[in-house]
Amino acid sequence: MLGVSIPLSQLEILASSFAAIKDEIKPQFLESKDFILLTQIADLVIPRTDTPGAIDAGVHGFIDMMLSQWASSETQSKYLAGFNYINKEAKLSFDANFIECTKGQKISILKRLDIRKESAKDQRQAFFVELKWFVITGYYSSKEGASIELNYDRMPGRYQGCLPFDEQGKAWSS
């Protein structure tokens, strides 16, 4: 120890802002204010730790690409409305757009919106859980998430059904 203790949350901010600057991606679909919001949320859902986070894996760019090329127009509208809703929640609570809030405020908003579909009042309220799932699937199917954070074996050779977990240490991504 160096005698100075930096809280984990601050380390996260440092790492994450660095990641966001490093990987500048030009969005194909989202306007820049929504893309920044998406980028910040992706970073909060799966931050960089001793392993790559969602931004390192390019999940923000992946979701923007998916919205541009993969999503139907209904899905596109749903996401745009969803980002608006998150901003509205931020304004109600902290009188600012989401991206202008402090990290603690952002986390408190997302925790409040982390409602499972079954208990959400309407589609807008259920939006964040859907976005969170998009970040998670994007991350764990990316090279960083699937093969660095977790284990990926392209050619296992054979199935072994009962090995000590400690030999592997982490989960298979698929």
Binding site: W133, Y140, F165
Partner: protein, 565 residues
């Protein structure tokens, strides 16, 4: 084209593949007609071996394409961006069902058909299955018994390569097996508990068409050992699972007796009333719309249950105004599929220090136990279970609240072991479950499209209820916790085991085919795909289609050589 063939085989899936192999190996000049495009083993497996991040959209099909082009096919678990070229485009291949009576018709129109896509579970039927119709009066008596087909099961298992364990079960006969795949720790524990507490039940490793240890015969065809990737539906250039492309097609090709015609839709079978024989088929080039008639001494229809039935219904003549070989009026009736989507799943609290390695393309199997030695009062016939144990990975995040470091750290470890059982049950033959040609609507090649009407009835509904109750009971008595039973009563079709619409039987008045899959009415016409089935049993049917096709092919050649055709 050169029109001098001994036999025409229509369709190149599992059944058609076996027909071309057996017929060409016996010296016949065979023309294989496939309605879809050519598929090249290896080259056309575009998603094979690719990691999720190497696939477009990480493997997801764009939403508009999915809803517009694959409205039905999307119900099949195997459809993704890397496999969609092996599924039909629903918009181009319509059929009709009543709004309240949906039927999911899952199809693959290409060389190799659905043999590329099947789940590869391979179980023998037993004597009990071949006598069921006779004993309880549903459907017509099978014209064969287990002993008639047993040597042909031996034959097809040896060539196809079926991995499994010998168990000595009366209701699920053993076969010629390659080494079994391994069970994981939870499966071994649940097996022990179930077999201890339910004396008439057993849990075995799934029997599947994978080369766990290839033989010389397999290696000679260019096939190799299963690599446990569990991405089979994308195609396997190791040829480790049985498909037409990996096994029967190369075997037929090396005889030099095979000609392949792709992109050719069979419109109908041509019948010569004077000689009382089929003389050939009318085909339509799917790209140019050109029509042509091709002739042969033998016709084998292996175009899949509903495909074959559609061709036969559309083969109308003065002798057969309602479809060729349909003097019985049974053609198109008695459609069956397996009933499923009922079972239970839960968590196993132990073995947290144990994990698996590799992706096993197979699960466990609980063979039928109802109505085997004792009579169940609630329903007739029976069901088996497929399932297995695993430790879910990041996908469980769907039900984990929270974000950030703690979520990420939680997902770095696998979840608790889970165990699930899903039933597959027998559907009774019932003539109200049927298909017929539409009087007005035609597809883009001018062929009348099919109407399908098939619903679950009382026996099936009772069976589904017991499936779910039994699964829950077995899991709870095996130490599984948080057991969630389910019974989704899915519409038929999605088990993709459709069968029965040109059934075999002893009596030409109540069946279409005799004991050699030969049309009662037309001696040189053979039907060996799922349409020939007189009942559905509860086992996955493909192995039985293989054995019936090989048997019918051998007998057809014999009859041809004896001048009987």
């Amino acid at each position: 084209m050169n029109n001098d063939f001994d036999a025409i085989v229509v369709g190149s899936g599992i059944s058609g593949g076996w027909a071309i192999k057996e017929l060409t190996e016996r010296g016949l000049k065979v023309l294989l007609i496939e309605r879809g495009p050519e598929t090249i083993h290896g080259e056309d497996y575009i998603g094979e071996g690719k990691a999720p991040w190497e696939l477009p959209y990480h493997g997801a099909i764009p939403e508009d394409t999915l809803s517009k082009e694959y409205a039905i096919q999307k119900q099949c678990y195997a459809l993704d961006d890397a496999t969609k070229h092996f599924f039909v485009n629903d918009r181009q291949h319509p059929y009709i069902t009543d709004k309240d009576k949906p039927f999911s018709w899952i199809r693959g129109y290409q060389l190799g058909g659905r043999s590329l896509l099947w789940y590869r579970q391979s179980y023998r039927w037993s004597e009990m299955d071949f006598t069921a119709n006779k004993l309880d009066g549903h459907g017509v008596d099978w014209p064969i018994r287990y002993q008639d087909i047993a040597p042909w099961y031996d034959h097809v298992e040896t060539f196809a390569g079926i991995s499994g364990s010998k168990e000595g079960l009366e209701q699920l006969p053993d076969g010629q097996f390659l080494p079994p795949m391994e069970m994981n720790c939870v499966e071994l524990e649940v097996k022990k508990q179930i077999e201890r507490q339910f004396p008439n039940r057993s849990m075995i490793i799934g029997r599947c068409a994978h080369l766990t240890k290839p033989t010389k015969e397999h290696l000679e065809l260019g096939r190799g050992q299963c690599q446990s990737r569990d991405e089979c539906e994308r195609g396997c250039s190791f040829g480790a699972y049985f498909s037409t492309l990996s096994a029967t097609l190369p075997a037929a090709k090396r005889t030099k007796n095979l000609t392949i015609l792709t992109d050719s839709i069979v419109h109908s079978v041509v019948y010569d009333a004077a000689n009382k024989r089929a003389t050939g088929v009318r085909i339509i080039n799917s790209k140019t719309n050109e029509h042509e008639e091709l002739n042969a001494r033998l016709i084998f229809l292996c175009a899949s249950t509903l495909g074959t039935t559609q061709i036969m219904l559309n083969s109308r003549s003065n002798t057969f105004p309602n479809g060729i070989a349909n003097s019985s009026g049974c053609l198109g009736l008695n459609l069956m599929d397996h009933i499923f989507e009922s079972g239970a799943s839960g968590e196993y609290p132990g073995f947290k220090d144990k994990y698996f390695k590799g992706r096993r393309p197979n699960g466990i199997y609980i063979p039928r136990y109802h109505n085997v030695n004792t009579r169940d009062e609630r329903f007739i016939r029976g069901f088996g279970f497929q399932g297995g144990g695993k430790r879910p990975s990041w996908e469980r995040a769907k039900s984990i609240p929270g974000i950030g470091v703690s979520l990420k750290e939680q997902l770095r470890k696998p979840g608790s072991w889970t165990f699930s059982l899903g039933g597959f049950g027998e559907m009774l033959p019932d003539q109200r479950n049927r298909v017929w040609l539409d009087k007005k609507l035609k597809d883009k090649w001018g062929i009348p499209i099919l109407n399908i009407e098939c619903i679950l009835r009382e026996n099936e509904r009772k069976m589904l209820k017991v499936m779910s109750e039994d699964a829950k009971e077995m899991l709870e008595s095996s130490g599984i916790i948080n057991v969630q039973p389910y019974n989704n009563s899915a519409p038929p079709g999605l088990a993709i085991h459709e069968m029965g619409t040109a059934r075999m039987g002893r009596d030409p008045n109540t069946s279409v085919l005799n004991k050699y899959n030969q049309a009662h009415d037309v001696p040189n016409l053979f039907v060996t795909d799922g349409s020939c089935m007189a009942s559905s049993a509860c086992q996955n049917p493909s192995l039985t289609y293989m054995a019936l096709t090989a048997r019918a092919s051998a007998n057809a050649v014999e009859m041809l050589q004896e001048g009987k055709l």
